[in-house]
Chain length 408, copies 4
Amino acid sequence: FQYTKCKMDDYYAPGRNHLFVPGPVNIPEQVLRAMNRNNEDYRSPAIPAMTKVLLEDVKKIFKTITGTPFLIPTTGTGAWESALTNTLSPGDRIVSFLIGQFSLLWIDQMQRLNFNVDVIESDWGAGANLEVLGSKLAADTGHTIKAICIVHNETATGVTNNLAAVRKLLDHYQHPALFLVDGVSSICALDFRMDEWGVDVALTGSQKALSLPTGMGIVCASPKALEASKTSKSVRVFFDWKDYLKFYKMGTFWPYTPSIQLLYGLRTALDLLFEEGLDNVIERHSRLAKATRLAVEAWGLKNCTQKEEWFSDTVTAVVVPSYIDSSEIVRRGWKRYNLSLGLGLNKVAGKVFRIGHLGNLNELQLLGCLAGVEMILKDVGYPVKLGSGVAAACAFLQNTIPMIPSRI
Amino acid sequence: FQYTKCKMDDYYAPGRNHLFVPGPVNIPEQVLRAMNRNNEDYRSPAIPAMTKVLLEDVKKIFKTITGTPFLIPTTGTGAWESALTNTLSPGDRIVSFLIGQFSLLWIDQMQRLNFNVDVIESDWGAGANLEVLGSKLAADTGHTIKAICIVHNETATGVTNNLAAVRKLLDHYQHPALFLVDGVSSICALDFRMDEWGVDVALTGSQKALSLPTGMGIVCASPKALEASKTSKSVRVFFDWKDYLKFYKMGTFWPYTPSIQLLYGLRTALDLLFEEGLDNVIERHSRLAKATRLAVEAWGLKNCTQKEEWFSDTVTAVVVPSYIDSSEIVRRGWKRYNLSLGLGLNKVAGKVFRIGHLGNLNELQLLGCLAGVEMILKDVGYPVKLGSGVAAACAFLQNTIPMIPSRI
Amino acid sequence: FQYTKCKMDDYYAPGRNHLFVPGPVNIPEQVLRAMNRNNEDYRSPAIPAMTKVLLEDVKKIFKTITGTPFLIPTTGTGAWESALTNTLSPGDRIVSFLIGQFSLLWIDQMQRLNFNVDVIESDWGAGANLEVLGSKLAADTGHTIKAICIVHNETATGVTNNLAAVRKLLDHYQHPALFLVDGVSSICALDFRMDEWGVDVALTGSQKALSLPTGMGIVCASPKALEASKTSKSVRVFFDWKDYLKFYKMGTFWPYTPSIQLLYGLRTALDLLFEEGLDNVIERHSRLAKATRLAVEAWGLKNCTQKEEWFSDTVTAVVVPSYIDSSEIVRRGWKRYNLSLGLGLNKVAGKVFRIGHLGNLNELQLLGCLAGVEMILKDVGYPVKLGSGVAAACAFLQNTIPMIPSRI
Amino acid sequence: FQYTKCKMDDYYAPGRNHLFVPGPVNIPEQVLRAMNRNNEDYRSPAIPAMTKVLLEDVKKIFKTITGTPFLIPTTGTGAWESALTNTLSPGDRIVSFLIGQFSLLWIDQMQRLNFNVDVIESDWGAGANLEVLGSKLAADTGHTIKAICIVHNETATGVTNNLAAVRKLLDHYQHPALFLVDGVSSICALDFRMDEWGVDVALTGSQKALSLPTGMGIVCASPKALEASKTSKSVRVFFDWKDYLKFYKMGTFWPYTPSIQLLYGLRTALDLLFEEGLDNVIERHSRLAKATRLAVEAWGLKNCTQKEEWFSDTVTAVVVPSYIDSSEIVRRGWKRYNLSLGLGLNKVAGKVFRIGHLGNLNELQLLGCLAGVEMILKDVGYPVKLGSGVAAACAFLQNTIPMIPSRI
């Protein structure tokens, strides 16, 4: 007999991988445990009973009472398609904002789905131009605009848009357009208020601030969106809300097989969020983001986000000097420090690298990352003062980190 | 301090759940282990490298060399939509077979996607009527039929269709229609030969014979199907092969975030299949199915499948006497024996219950299930001779089970 | 890049391993999940808090209020040594019963620890000879006997001794000897009443009816045993209760590092036992054992246990005809059916094989095993009627299995 | 139905726990995966086959060819007892060094096991006084000293003793005393050479640098130690090497039930160590330790270790100013930062806190810890310059961290 030595990993490195891409993010041990299970019959009483409560509880992360959630076995891209095809018909005019790679991809999807997209473009690094939106709404007395589509948090540039202001504009002009929001890198991390802001469809993906594996697109529809779905002429089957609603009514909930593991994972992810308290979670994200920005400043580098009002609390895109290729920073993080950072995408490729600071994460994890970034910066020839970013971050954090409530 | 007692499970029962629904099926421990992991950056070199080999290896389960596989974060329903929308245009004439609930659902999808479906219906329990197909092909000298869509194994009735015969007909009439096959409850369990049978699109789902969690739809396209995808006018984005092909070319492989866990799970599932040998896997399914049918016969019950040529080796639908409600059998299995059986669906609701015998399963697991079914039958008033089905199954199995190669 | 194919298991076989050795036994998924975790600082407040409640709760499985439990990082053999060395001094006279391999090993340990062992031997298959014990107690007016040591359930032969009768004898003769009980294959499965039966030290191992991994020896001492430990002259350090008691008093509980994983595993194992109800657990073991014995009878084979009063509800040792080597049965189970049975040990090697039916196990799992044994018997040339044992077991079980309370 | 909300953890905190106690240490995901498995029959061919190779491979971590290893289901304390009782007889004279809490505990064990311990005491913070050893050896012409017992790395004070120098002295005086070494917090992390240094018994515990859960004491005996075990008169059973050797000879390897999970865990831990390369592992520990010491220096704090020659590469004990209670530092780490540091023990309680930097750990993890310590120091009133320690550590690390070989 010869025990077969097995190469454990093709890219093995000792210690933890420091995962700071803005998704997929770190999964807490509690969730890994909950998902470590065999399949089950999803037609037994157990799964519908569990689903019923999940659907109630998941509404809390959208801050909605009147919304109807759908837990779809798909990714954020599928959730986008679900939002659009259920509420709009081919040819419908959509106003959308192009401010970075993910808003670009969503707009591309809209166009390929045959909607008539009226694009409001900003510099990459700026937020949605709401003045232009105002003009368009003012001009649209005939209500040709059927929907406003906006990415709450543009993951490519670290820009957070002001959704309350969008709602204010719609109200001001008494415009009936649907308000569709990509909350993929915001929900469960940034302040999000579906009902208060009159959002008609909000959506997120499991692998972002929920800290689950990829595979569940969570879409939440307002009563107005549900109403729209009854008349939408977009062709759809897999993403059709009708099938879900039919099974909701029957109490079996699933038009097709869900991932048993993701259901238990979601249950646990929600339990953790509720145990910490959603407001505390948001506060934690704000704290980690502020610490990151202070480090960036201390390094003498620029935030890709142009104005403070747009600073994202889930991802920071850092601009590197022109003599440095930001991709080299990401590569080096992986090759030397077991640190995973986000690449610059498309227009900002080579120019920015991104630090994702969302999901189930704490301050010391972030500080390890920041220390790593400092060493990488030095590696690639940027004259950083080692320790400077960490010092700036710590100075802020040491004043603001709360005691852990369960341990006081 | 008070340790919080936690109700572990709302439906706790001691011992293993005996999972014999025809999907989702039992996940082997090796796969659970492989999936027990944190998220990773899918843009690091590790995931593309792994994906590249997975795409090569997954072709083996389709028995194709020329096919192009897509690993889509979706379910079987999404895989159907991917197959149809990438290869056909609205209004295209499809010939499809209605022989049970899953063929029905696929046809429903075809219609809602605006294809012109020419349905060939059989009794539930019978296979596809290939004579009618022959006539239609013969008559279709103008080649108005753009595709033949067939469910290889109808999970609702336990009917396996003869794909080689379909190909023979197409060849006989030199008909250029695309040949699209739902292999959801067949691939990795039944004999399936994509290239030899000239299948243009074949598809399966991760939670079936691959024995993974739900969440990956695996679609494989022939060169002819890929060619068709270039001109198909069906609206699609999430399911569009174009995006995959673009990323394949770039070597990054993923147009949107994959489930890291399912990738490692698939790697392991394939490793296990290849270690056992695909032909041995198919042989094992054949053995388990035969044993099940012998038990059914011994119980004096009828197989829902009308002829031996259609007997399914992955699921057996058992017809109960009219004085028994088959749903009561399923309920009782769950409530008393921790046994999960499949319900009768739609037309055969209340009339049949189903035993799924697919995936990573062995003989003694099946025999435990069969013994359970016997007790349930007695519970619900059917005069079964206890032990009779197990005896019949054992008589066959004891003659046919091979030694476990790794342990000889 | 070349993905390294990894031989998953050197002895891979499809489907579940059917684990029917009398320990280590099947671990329920809930326990595996609970143990799937990183290490923790065992000096933080969390572990002592958890331990405190565990020590209270673990007393329930011994049915003791006055006992003091010790959770020792060791096996049953170590638990034996802990029981003996803490309560007795070298040269002390012990009366012990030799009825099978495990009582033999314990006696061997007693002798090597320099106790003066007065052995009462029975045939392998018979229980402890309590008449002889009676005579010895009657004769021992000088109280030279310091302890009675008895294995509650002899795992090698499937013999359960009558502990209440032992206590009755001690009381009858007003004999002050300590009453030490090996409950390794009984506690959490058989009726065990530490306080009522006046047991002074009871012990078990985590890998038996608690259904955990190996590694925790659980020893419970009566006040009288604790008192004895103060004067025992046996040399001991690792197993010394004094160190535990010192740390209990300090509230930190651990004289050396415990297995964090086993603590969480134990927590879950107890939660599951309490959820099912300890009496229901014992009833389930009784039911599974009766079913097994009925199968053995139906096969025309003899139970190694000579009288019904000694029948064990956790393990059944089956005598094979002299022309069959029972080891071949065990080998064949493993090589052909992925079934793990217990070997015959020492005096009964080659003559008996053992079916362990303890721990977190249900009826259909057992029936799968019994069906497997039938096929093996046929394989090795025994003229069994296939299905006969399963039929006999089912006839009994179908009348006695209760509904699953959580699912009614 | 009401889904039971379950308090996930009584001491829940978001993000990873930063585990920097000097044991138990972080378990890598690969090991957690390997251990996530059901029990198995340890008498099947699989476990002996695996054990055989494990016993060969485990010798590599001791750097021995002639040694015989024992994998004992116990902790370090049990491993100590195994080392002593197998090689020595009651009354035997042992020379041992008292330099901190763990050497103290071992000496306490020696005394309670009735050996005649000749203690050479040093200040806590100093290493073993080898001059005194020299005198004793010189004086012991009658060879009354039967063994030299030394803790390689005193975990309480962060002191590493010079084993080569001990051997040199023994050789110089041609003294035949056995050389017994506690390698609990050194083996797999510090340079350790059993054969070269003529160590007779070396031992470690699974939860230290092997990065496994607690529960396996690994003891390795030289041929001379094995020879001594044949005549040792110490009473022992559970820890008796004889039983192991008997089962080694039989090829079944286990005198009692091993933890299946720890065996697979050990297999994986060794695979990871060998993949990284044992010398690289030691180099990594040296690097992390140096970085830690530079941070301590930058904070203006003193290392408890008095001289550089004794600096430990696995744990650093940091002396706090007298106006600070070091326990408060540890408490605060846990209560505010989810950071687990080591308490000061016994003589240095309240005076030092300890940073464990051993096991499967990387630089960014350590830097997160160091940043945390800085904030804690500020919390408790020590005037640290935030960022100073991290800066000093980074300055060193950025120059010395190698590229990850598998990722170049």
